[in-house]
Structure formats: C-alpha cells, structure tokens
C-alpha cells in the first residue's frame, strides 16, 4: 500500500495522500425487535497538493487512481492565485496498532444483537415507555497516510457506541430522551449497563408528568453531558482555527490572552486522553495530536490547528485536522473537548442555588458565530437549594462571551460523553467527544413555549 501511494507522489510543492479501508457495522433494534443489520465496507483515498495559492484536493475510490488524482490536485492548485505556506513539521514514520481490552469485532453479531434486545426489553417493560430505539455503531478504519516530505503512517481507529432514543407517551403527550453508551474501542464499556438503561426509561416516563418550563432567565446547573455540549457548541467551534481565516476581525476577537471567563475556568481539548470517542493519535495531515489548553485561568490560551492555520497564526501545530472519511477533505475538528474541574461538590452547587433549574441530557445544539442554542431533555426546579419538581421542553440560548463570564460554579469531577458526534461543513464526525463537571451559569436565557 505505502509503495503504491508513494509512487503517486512527486517532489513538486507539497503533496499528500491518504487511503482508508472502512469496515462499519450498524445494528438497529426497536424494543426487542431487530430492525436492521448493515455491514458496510468501503474504501477510497483523498489526495492533496499545494503548488499554487491554495490546496487542490480530490477524493477517489481506486488506489490505481492515486497518481491521476494527485495530477488533478496539482492542476487545481495551480489555478489558485497567490501563495500559501504550511507550518513545517518533522517527517514521521509510524504504525499505530490498537490495543483493545475487549475487541468489539471479536464479539459475534448474535451477542451484540442479544445485548441490544436485552436493553430494549428492560426499557420497554417500564409502563408508558412506548418506544426504545437503539442503534449500535461500530466504526473501524485502517488509514494509510503519506506525504512528499517523508511522512508514512499507518493507523487503525476503532469505536463502538450504542445510542438510545426513548419515547414515552400518554393520551396527551409524547416525550423523548437520549442515552449513549460506550464510544471507546472497548466493548466492555457497553456491557452491564442495565441500571443506566432502566433509569433513563423511568426518567423518560416521568417527563410526562413534568410541567413545561416558564421562559425566562434562570441560574442553571448543567449536568456533565449538557455542560459538555455547551462548551462544544458555544466555544469549541470558535477555537477551531480555520474559522479565523474568514476575517481579520475574528482574529482580533480571538486574540490569545483575552479574558473570556472567570479565573478558575479552564477548557482543554485532548485527543491523547485515551478511551473516548474523540481519542486518536495522528490527524489526517499526519500530525500527532496534542493536548491543547484553549482557556487557561479564564484567558484564551490556545486553539486547534491544521498546518495551514498554525502557519497563518504563527502558533504551534496541534493535530486537529480531520475528515469524516476518504470522501471528504479534512477540516479543523475538536477531539475530546472539556471544561476542567473546579472545587465545588454537586451538593454544594445545588444547595447554594436559591432559585434555578437543574438541566439534564442533551437533545441537539447549533452555533452561529457568537450565538448558540441547544435543547435539553428535561430538568428540575431548584428552590431554596433543593431540587423540587420536574420541568420539560427546555431550550437554552445565549451569547458566548456573556455566558462564559457567568459561569460561577465548577464541580470537582468530570465525565466525558459516550457515543459522540458533531456536524461541521457538511461532515458528521462520530469520533468527537465532549465533557464537563457539573457547572452553574448565572442568568441564562431559557426558552419554553
């Protein structure tokens, strides 16, 4: 494989090639019934060349087309006026072999299906829980990467996750929640999760009795999944340095050293922390991933880079340039982003909240520049430091800069999302993870109906 790829490259400008063999398995189960099993095998490559003022890139299927694809990339690139430089990095030769406690690929299809049916049965036996949809997603990639600077990397990537969507229904109302398990390369993380599944089913049914939230400003306590989504949507995307290319003004707004939050507040993206859906060794430009402090003690202190954005900003490479698969050109993406822990216990955070909301479970979010919005599965009122009645239909919106400064409590333990997923530039990336401790945000705008 390396031989064929290297032969396709020449010494003109910068060139690279990656070739991927994908083996994915998806299983869909509803309650106790298997809806579908798909074994997906695809392969293809992605070529890039930089000889003119910008990259020419091309996705292709057949390894025999590698050389032709590089030629086309060169032609594309030559048409682009101006010049463009990449941050220089040392060439790397490496072979990343996975070490897996319990390899999902060694679990039989029947075992996987039976585990899912078991969870589906547990959930659907709860009264008023009408539908428990479970999707198992196993992604395996064998990736080859070469460039004309001498880098040669073969790496394997594997993740296995189960995503639940539960629906409860009574005569007047339908409520929906989500739950994810796993996300790592270890099948152990998917086993023996009966209690989590049952608890989520009970919560889904309990939402039927909840009151719709009254829209307004609240002090909100976010659970780690909501906190993780918040930092991913509200701040993470802005720290992807390719966003800086669109204007000088944004570069000014995002000047390193600017005070973004309180002094105890730290945000990190760390693909090197093993065991999450966003863990990986090399990005799709052959750069080894690094732990990056995005916010350190309240100050903007770093961002996620490709070689191009590192050069443009004069900052170090971080290895965050990734693509969904061979059919897409890489873009700067988060790996494992999280809010770091503080000193507050969960109990203290709740007890010190006079009149607020405790919010649990994510239900999707989106960002547009400094504005963000995301939905949560449900919540509880906090009255005089105590959790009281349940509320539903909750959507949070806000402005990044004011919201970050309003975070005033940080829990002392962090947890990372299971499963994963993020959409950007037309590419859904499952290997993206987010996490947080319990956090409190003052004066958050909560929309209801």
């Amino acid at each position: 494989m390396f031989k064929e790829l290297k032969e396709a490259l020449s010494s003109e400008g910068y060139q690279d090639l990656r070739f991927e063999n994908l083996k994915n398995l998806t299983i869909k189960v509803r309650n106790e019934e298997v809806k579908s099993v798909d074994i997906i095998e695809k392969s293809g490559g992605h070529a890039r060349a930089l000889v003119g003022g910008g990259f020419g890139t091309l996705s292709f299927n057949d390894i025999k087309d590698a050389k032709k694809s590089i030629s086309e990339c060169i032609a594309f690139s030559k048409n682009i006026p101006g010049e463009m430089k990449l941050k220089s990095v040392d060439p790397v030769q490496d072979d990343v072999i996975l070490s897996i406690p319990l390899d999902p690929r060694e679990i039989t299809l029947d075992e996987k299906v039976n585990l899912m049916k078991h969870y589906g049965k547990l959930a659907s036996e709860i009264d008023l829980l009408s539908i428990c949809d479970i999707e198992y997603i196993e992604l395996y990639k064998e990736k080859y990467y070469v460039n004309n600077e001498g880098t040669e990397i073969r790496q394997e990537q594997l993740s296995a996750a189960m995503n639940f969507r539960m629906t409860s229904k009574n005569d007047v109302l339908t409520q929906q929640t989500r739950l994810s398990l796993g996300g790592s390369l270890d099948f152990t993380d998917l086993k023996d999760k009966d209690q989590l599944v049952i608890d989520k089913a009970i919560q889904t049914v309990a939402l039927l009795e909840a009151e719709p939230v009254v829209a307004g400003d609240y002090d909100v306590v976010l659970d780690p999944t909501v906190g993780g989504l918040f930092i991913h949507e509200a701040f993470g995307h802005l720290s992807e340095a390719d966003n800086l290319l669109r204007s000088e003004a944004l570069r000014k707004t995002m000047t390193l050293g600017s005070m973004f939050a309180g002094q105890d507040f730290n945000v990190i993206d760390d693909p090197t922390e093993a065991g999450h859906s966003g863990s990986y060794v090399y990005d799709d430009e052959g750069v080894k991933s690094r732990k990056v402090h995005l916010i350190k003690e309240g100050k903007l202190s770093g961002r996620m880079h490709s070689r191009l954005t590192a050069e443009l900003t004069g900052e170090e490479v971080t290895g965050h340039f990734r693509a969904k698969n061979y059919a897409y050109t890489p873009i700067v993406r988060m790996g494992n982003i999280y809010i770091d822990t503080g000193d507050d216990t969960y109990e203290d955070i709740i007890a010190s909240t006079k009149n607020g909301l405790y919010l649990f479970g994510t239900a999707g979010g989106q960002t547009s520049g400094d504005m963000f919005t995301f939905a949560v599965q449900g919540g509880y009122k906090i009255e005089d430091g105590k959790i009281t009645s349940m509320v539903r239909d909750i959507i949070l919106t806000g402005n990044l800069f004011t919201t970050l400064k309003n975070i005033d409590k940080l829990g002392d333990t962090r947890s990372m999302s299971k499963g994963g997923g993020c959409g950007k530039g037309g590419q859904i990336l499952r290997t993206s993870c987010k996490g947080s401790p319990y956090i409190r945000i003052k004066n958050m705008s909560v929309g209801g109906k």
Binding site: S36, I39, G54, N61, I80, T253, G369, A375, G423
Partner: protein, 439 residues
Amino acid sequence: MSNLFDYIKEQVDDAELYTKQDNILAIEIKQGKISAVDGKDVLGISLRMNKDGKPGTAVASNFEDKTIVDRAIVSSHYKSGACFRFKNIQGQSENCFDQTLFEMSSESLINEAQKLAIRLKEINETITFMISYERTNSHVTIENTEGLNDAYDKTDLKISIASISASGFVQGMYTEAYSKYFEISDDKLNEIVERHLISNNLVKVPTKHMPVVFSGRAMGALMTRLLAGVNGEFVVKGVSPLENKIGQRVASEILNVSDDGLMKAGYGSLKFDDEGTPAQRTDLIENGVLKQFLSSVSTEDKLNIQATGNALKKTMFSKEIEDQPAIDSTNFVVSPGDTPDEDILKGIDYGIYVDSVMGTHTGNIPAGEYALNVSIGYLIENGKLTGKIADTMVSGNIYEDLSKVKAIGKHLELMQVVFYPMGYSPMVLFDDINVVGTK
C-alpha cells in the same frame, strides 16, 4: 456493472443494484482569497435484495467487491419486515441536467467566483464576504430483477454568500441553487449589501406575539415540520398530526405547497428516486386543504397511495450510499403568492423579518413544534427593516401557525435546512407569532 448484477442474480431471489458516481468541485473565497479547490470523484454501490423470504442490504465502493452479496445475505438473517418490492416503471423526463454546468472546469468555477467577488466589491468595498461555489455532476443507475434498467445524469450548482460583521462573525447569508447554470442578480447583491449595513444597528425586541415574516430561506425550518407531517412513513407509524386530515383545512387558504421532483432546473429535480420510482409533482396543500401524503414503495399498500418518487438516500445530516431510501423532499415548494415582496414589508408597523434560524433539527419535529433561535433577522418598523435583532427566538406549532399566514411573496428563495437545500419558498407573513426577546 452488469457483470456484478449477473453475479448477484445468481445468488439471491430478487435484487436491485443502485449506483451513484459523484463528481464534485467546490471552491471558497475567504478574505478575498481562494483557499482551496476541493474535488470529489467517488462511486457508491448499493444492493437491496431478498433471499429466502428475507430482505437484506449492503453497499460497496467498487464493482469488483463481490462480498457485497455475502454481506447483504448476513443482513437478511437479522432484518425485520417485509421483503423489498421492486418495480419497473420507466422514468420519463429529466429536468436536472445542464451541459454548461456539466462541462465547467475548476478554472471556470474560479473565474465565476472571482467575478462575483468583484461585483460585490463594486457595490461596497468595505464589507468582507465569504463566497462559495459547489458544482456537482452525478450519474445514477438502477437495475432490478423486475427488468428495470434506467439511468440519468444530474448537474447542480450552489452559490453561497456570507457577509462578515465587525467582530468577525457571519452577519448576513444568502444561498441560491439550481440544476442549471445561473448568476446571482444585481438586485440580490444590492439587497445583500443593504441588509448587511442595516445589521450594523443591533436592536432588541420585546417578548410578545407580533407579525413575523419568514424569508424563503427560513421557511425551511417550518417546512421541515410540514414535511414530517406529510411523510407517509410517519403517517403509517401514527406520529403525524395530519394522519386523518386529508381533505381538511390545515392552513390558511392562500397557502399552496407541493413536492415537485420535475421542477425545471430545481436543485432537487431528478428522473427517478432511489427506489427507481419516476419523479413527479405531488400537490400536498391546495388553498389550505391537505391533499396528499408522500409515499414510498414500502408505504404504498398501507396508505393506499402510489409511490410519489420521494424515497431518497439521505438524512438531514448525511447523503451516504449506505443511507437507506426514506421519504424526503425533492423540491418542496411553497407556491408564490400575489403580494409583491416589498408590499409585505410595507404593511407592517412593528414586527420582525426572520432570515435564518438555528434549531431546525431540534424539538418534536413530527408534532409540528418549533423553537428557533433567530441567527439572522431584522426589526420591521413602519414598513422598513431598521436593524438586526439580537437574542431573539420564535416558537410555536406549525399546525396552529400555518393558519396565520396572511400574505405570500412572489419571489422564490432556496430553503436551506441544516446541511442541504430542501426546496423553494417565497417570503411568508404570519400575523401573530410568539417572539421571545430581551427588551
């Protein structure tokens, strides 16, 4: 390809082989500079088949990969539900191919984008714009054991312009897309600049019910909910509020909505859908009355509605070869009304104009509920746009709000939903929508 299909036929009882070759060229201008030319030349092969009374599916990325059959057979051991039914109806017309577009090279695409950048600069040289062009050529084939053997070529072009605010964020956004070559008109470019300048004035609005104009673009968020309501799969599942409403008034009598897979030059036009059903136009709402649901081969019997050519291999977030055909829009079209666009705005003393929203994909979509954060929107005062609204949401339920449609504009805009275009709509005035503001 026929070699692979011959091999498949020997192994299974019934089969359908679908292939799609995409050739895509995309460029982007940021800060006046082209950053890349991104190309794609990829093939996807999808097999759906029945063996021993069970349906199975698999995909591959080259014609030599015969394991596609073995994998489909394994899938059939587990897959629930009835066998696939394959049909043989030849597609007729094609309104989705343009030779000029097909032949466009990366050079000509770059020229086009640069020309557009210059035109924008001539109108206002101080504003920073991002411009993107994406040209797609697709070749689709379908062959099944009922004797269907059909193919079509499709082209499309999507042009987006975003203007950037003083702090570096997207301030204005416009997207246009057709399956034929086009240029964005001078009037539109002037409007983009004018709106950008209006946006320099940030305003707040109070929380109350008020007249709201949804631009054609923003209508996509509301029509996503209507699409779920007329989606035959949701009707069969019992989750569509429109289930027993055919023949009944569900919207204002001035509202007409169709799905038109044959729309001339429509971005979503095609010869046949991804199950081989010929494209057609389906009138969904006529003068406010629900007329029809969208149906696929698998819902035909349950709904007693012939497949409408809407089974597509895509979701809101993906267009992969492994996405199974499911009911979706081709060109979802809100018919133009009889009020000139400027007259709609002139008639409003105080209200908002919503041009782009966040949250299209969240909430209980089949139930028609929406709660949308306005990412780009304007205050309307005494018939004029006077500023960009900040921190504003609109929320409600389309099955109440579609009855509040008071006027429909004449000019069709592209409805953009999450990653992909959904169809076309003019601007629509609703007279009494719940707006959550911060004033």
